[in-house]
């Protein structure tokens, strides 16, 4: 057998230039980051508008500034409603209620859910885990809307009361998510390494566990935020959350639907606003998940 067996003849000159390896320019990734930033900016603008609706409106949401059923125009951007109130102004003021009641719901959900999740996840299968698990299941078995109805019956109408009830319902999902993440993180070698380095349980939790698991929680929060807005809107629509003349979006949609045929904007525009905000939040949730390595 010949001693040289492997031969690579001089490569024919290839027309294609060889791509340089390892160049940065992960453009797709950067694009997603940029998209996320744009979405977060939009969200920030919404927060400002929700905090200070007077800044972005010229009319009072409760004053009869125009004729009834004026279609959208330069003066009344979203038109006027059945008694001549500026719909744009009402939508912006309604945003405040919808937005902050949903925020309250999510806050209750995140805080309660995280506490329950961490407590049960630290010792899976332990007594605490089992008790909290049963409680979570019990709450899960009750539809969140039913829970909200019960709360409203007991404590009176209002978006914020509904929100707390919805938040308690949402906490179950957060608890499950956080519990799973905490259990998963316990098997991470660097978490055990930190423990063998002498780090106490709190230090391990704050420094190693939370930073490695908060991402899915954040993304889930954005999604639940949108769902909470829908839930609160539905309750008001059904006549359980806010009551007229409140400009809460569910109330606006319910009030406008009678006139849908000859004044579509009164119901459709608040509906579109709600859809847009929920889509924005879901998109943020999606992008946050995508941007995770």
């Amino acid at each position: 057998m010949t001693d040289t067996l492997i031969g690579a003849p001089p490569a024919p000159p290839s027309g294609k230039p060889t791509p340089t390896p390892g160049k940065p320019a992960p453009r797709a990734r950067r694009r997603r980051f940029r998209e996320l930033h744009v979405h977060l900016l939009l969200l920030a603008a919404l927060v400002v508008a929700a905090l200070l609706p007077e800044l972005v409106t010229r009319h009072d949401p409760f004053e009869l500034d125009g004729l009834p059923f004026v279609p959208p125009n330069g003066e009344f951007w979203f038109g006027t409603d059945e008694i001549g109130r500026d719909l744009y102004s009402r939508v912006m003021h309604g945003l405040q209620i919808s937005f902050f009641s949903a925020a309250l719901a999510v806050l209750v959900g995140v805080v309660l859910g995280s506490v329950v999740g961490v407590l049960s996840g630290l010792r899976p299968g332990g007594v605490l885990d089992r008790v909290l698990g049963i409680l979570t299941e019990a709450v899960m078995a009750v539809p969140a809307v039913l829970l909200a109805l019960a709360a409203i019956t007991a404590y009176g109408r209002g978006a914020y009361i509904a929100a707390i009830a919805i938040g308690i319902g949402e906490a179950t999902g957060f608890a499950r998510l956080v519990r799973g993440l905490v259990i998963q993180s316990q098997t991470l070698v660097f978490v055990e390494a930190a423990r063998t380095c002498g780090a106490g349980p709190l230090r391990v939790l704050v420094r190693h566990v939370v930073p490695s698991v908060y991402h899915p929680v954040l993304s889930y929060t954005a999604m639940q935020f949108g769902l909470a807005m829908l839930a609160i809107g539905s309750l008001s629509y059904l006549g359980f959350g806010e009551a007229p003349p409140s400009p809460e979006w569910g109330v606006l949609i319910a009030g406008g639907q009678k006139y849908l045929v000859h004044a579509w904007w009164v119901a459709i525009i608040p509906g579109l606003a709600l859809t847009a905000v929920v889509v924005l939040l879901n998109r943020i949730a999606f992008l946050m998940q995508e941007n995770r390595r």
Binding site: L5, A8, P9, P21, A25, G200
Partner: protein, 563 residues
């Protein structure tokens, strides 16, 4: 931007120049093969103008370290590159047929029928929901075999017998989870050869298996190959394995073919500096020959024996007395550790050797106090772990530190190196902020990493560098005992030697005691003063390294040493 056309001739060794090999003798001809991976919008070149011939009926080993493109090469030939991979240029010929001219659809019939593939991981490569028989028969139906059902059955039984299964009839009705890893891998070998392909590509066929089991698999692969005269391409990172099993070798470095030729020649007289470095890093290869572990030990041994001078009178650092530990109950009850007694002298390196499932890792976790013993006593640095409360255990953690197997998992990717190394200092509130910073700088220097690395994150480091960081962290609070859990098995061979040298240097300087857990007797021969061999939860043999390595008393030790 590099142009392959102009650089190829410069970097290829004389041996890879146009072949004088008889063209009829060549089964696979690869020319100027360039494979790229798309990552987001960047493009990585995994293989860069690789060209070689594979001789018919021979075994060609492809060697190289991780990231050198070995597996990419195998996958490019069978066209199983991941979705983001593409053959950017070049030619692959099988029996003078241009494979790249075939569309994916036309290529499919080649797989199995003409090119067999043995994957790396036998566990994930068999369908857990189907019987072995169904999966072997599937190979025939997928290849469109013309054999009748009876002929297929007969062929399967014959093949399985050839591959070393005594009673293949009973095997066919079983499910993958009922078989050991080695048996599963042999099934995969049988499947790869079942259609009598011209070429079989084996991608690290033994690296997921224990040494002894891996040897068995290679032996059966060799038997079947000889029987059918199949050409085999063997991808491996193990030089000793390549040396013993292959006729020809291709050496890849960072996607480029740096050397190629008959194994005996290349290993005896490597021409490329990279091949030389690779060979030098393997303690087991000298002048193109594989040394036995005992021979390697005799060559290296003397300095080790001088290095560790444990004082026999001093009280032992670790004492295990009749320790047992079981997991699970009922049917899944496993005695991981079964009545083990051992003592580790201060300043020595105690190596606990065993294959997977031997209980060696459980033993190390018992020493670390991460598990508690069911029976017997564990004493570490004079403390009885059985009676220590949480506070006492934490106090002990100041004196016992650990280096984990995989530096890719043991370092928190979200922290910079300064925070990682300072973790024990922060946890025990040792010194002021400035003192901790100074200590981190000192430790980085100690493990020979630049001080500027303090602000980097683990992802920016190579495997070897990460393991150095893990060592620095373990040293931070000046422990007396270091538990090393397979400290080098996740690293490439050249890096292994460096990390082991560093560990020995540190031991001599600081007088540390090492409790080393490993499956690799070659590592042990290099560094250990005492060796204990563990099998199925029991110690089969223990003693000074020289005794165990040169005069093994137990058959199991002998088998491990013969690898």
């Amino acid at each position: 931007m590099t142009d392959t056309a102009t650089t190829t001739p410069d970097r290829t060794d004389a041996r890879t120049a146009p072949a004088a090999a008889d063209p009829a003798d060549v089964l696979v001809r690869v020319r100027d093969l360039t494979v790229t991976y798309r990552r987001d919008d960047a493009v990585d070149t995994a293989l860069d103008g690789v060209g070689f011939d594979v001789r018919r009926g021979k075994v060609t080993a492809v060697i190289g370290e991780s990231g050198s493109g070995k597996s990419t090469l195998a996958h490019a030939v069978v066209r199983l590159l991941p979705g983001n991979g593409a053959i950017a240029a070049g030619a692959i010929e099988l029996d003078d047929e241009d494979l790249l001219a075939r569309t994916d659809r036309e290529f499919r019939p080649l797989r199995g029928r003409h090119i067999g593939f043995v994957p790396q991981d036998p566990v994930s490569s068999l369908n857990p929901t189907k019987t072995i028989g169904a999966q072997v028969r599937e190979a025939f139906s997928l290849a469109g075999s013309a054999l009748t059902a009876e002929q297929v059955e007969e062929r399967i039984l014959g093949d399985l017998r050839d591959i070393g299964f005594a009673a293949p009839e009973t095997l066919l009705a079983r499910y993958p989870h009922e078989l050991s890893g080695g048996m599963r891998q042999r099934i995969l070998v049988a499947i790869a050869f079942s259609q009598r392909p011209r070429l079989v590509i084996a991608d690290e066929p033994t690296s997921a298996l224990d040494v002894l089991v891996g040897q068995e698999v290679l032996r059966s692969l060799h038997d079947v190959r000889t029987k059918h005269g199949t050409t085999v391409v063997l991808i491996t990172h193990d030089l000793a394995l390549a040396s013993r099993n292959a006729d020809d070798v291709l050496v890849l470095e960072a996607g480029r073919l740096v050397e190629a030729g008959p194994v005996a020649e290349v290993f005896a007289a490597p021409r490329h500096p990279y091949t030389r470095a690779l060979l030098a890093s393997s303690a087991r290869l000298r002048e193109g020959r594989v040394l036995s572990i005992a021979e390697a030990y005799e060559r290296h041994g003397p300095d080790v024996r001088r290095a560790g001078s444990p004082s026999a009178e001093a009280p032992a650092v670790v004492t295990l007395d009749g320790v047992s530990k079981s997991f699970g109950g009922g049917k899944s009850h496993v005695r991981a550790v079964d009545g083990i007694s051992l003592a580790v002298a201060p300043g020595s390196t105690f190596a606990l050797v065993g294959e997977s499932g031997s209980g060696k890792t459980t033993t190390s976790r018992l020493v670390l106090g991460l598990e508690s013993a069911d029976a017997g006593s564990v004493h570490v640095l004079g403390e009885d772990l059985g009676t220590l409360d949480r506070k006492g255990l934490r106090a002990l953690r100041r004196r016992v530190q650990v280096v984990y197997q995989s530096p890719f998992e043991s370092l928190n990717p979200r922290l910079d190196l300064r925070s990682i190394i300072a973790e024990p200092l922060d946890s025990f509130r040792v010194g002021s902020r400035a003192e901790r910073r100074a200590r981190v700088a000192e430790l980085l220097d100690r493990v020979r990493l630049p001080a500027s690395y303090a602000t980097r994150r683990p992802q920016e480091l190579s495997g070897g560098q990460r393991q150095r960081v893990a060592i620095a962290r373990a040293l931070a609070i000046r422990p007396e005992l270091l538990v090393l859990d397979e400290p080098v098995s996740a690293l490439d061979a050249t890096i292994q030697a460096q990390v082991l040298d560093l560990l020995q240097e540190i031991q001599q300087e600081l007088g540390l005691t090492y409790f080393l857990v490993t499956h690799d007797l070659a590592v042990v021969a290099d560094v250990a003063t005492q060796v204990a061999v563990m099998r199925r939860g029991r110690l089969v043999e223990s003693g000074p390294t020289a005794d165990v390595v040169l005069r093994p008393q137990d058959d199991y030790t002998r088998a491990l040493l013969a690898v």
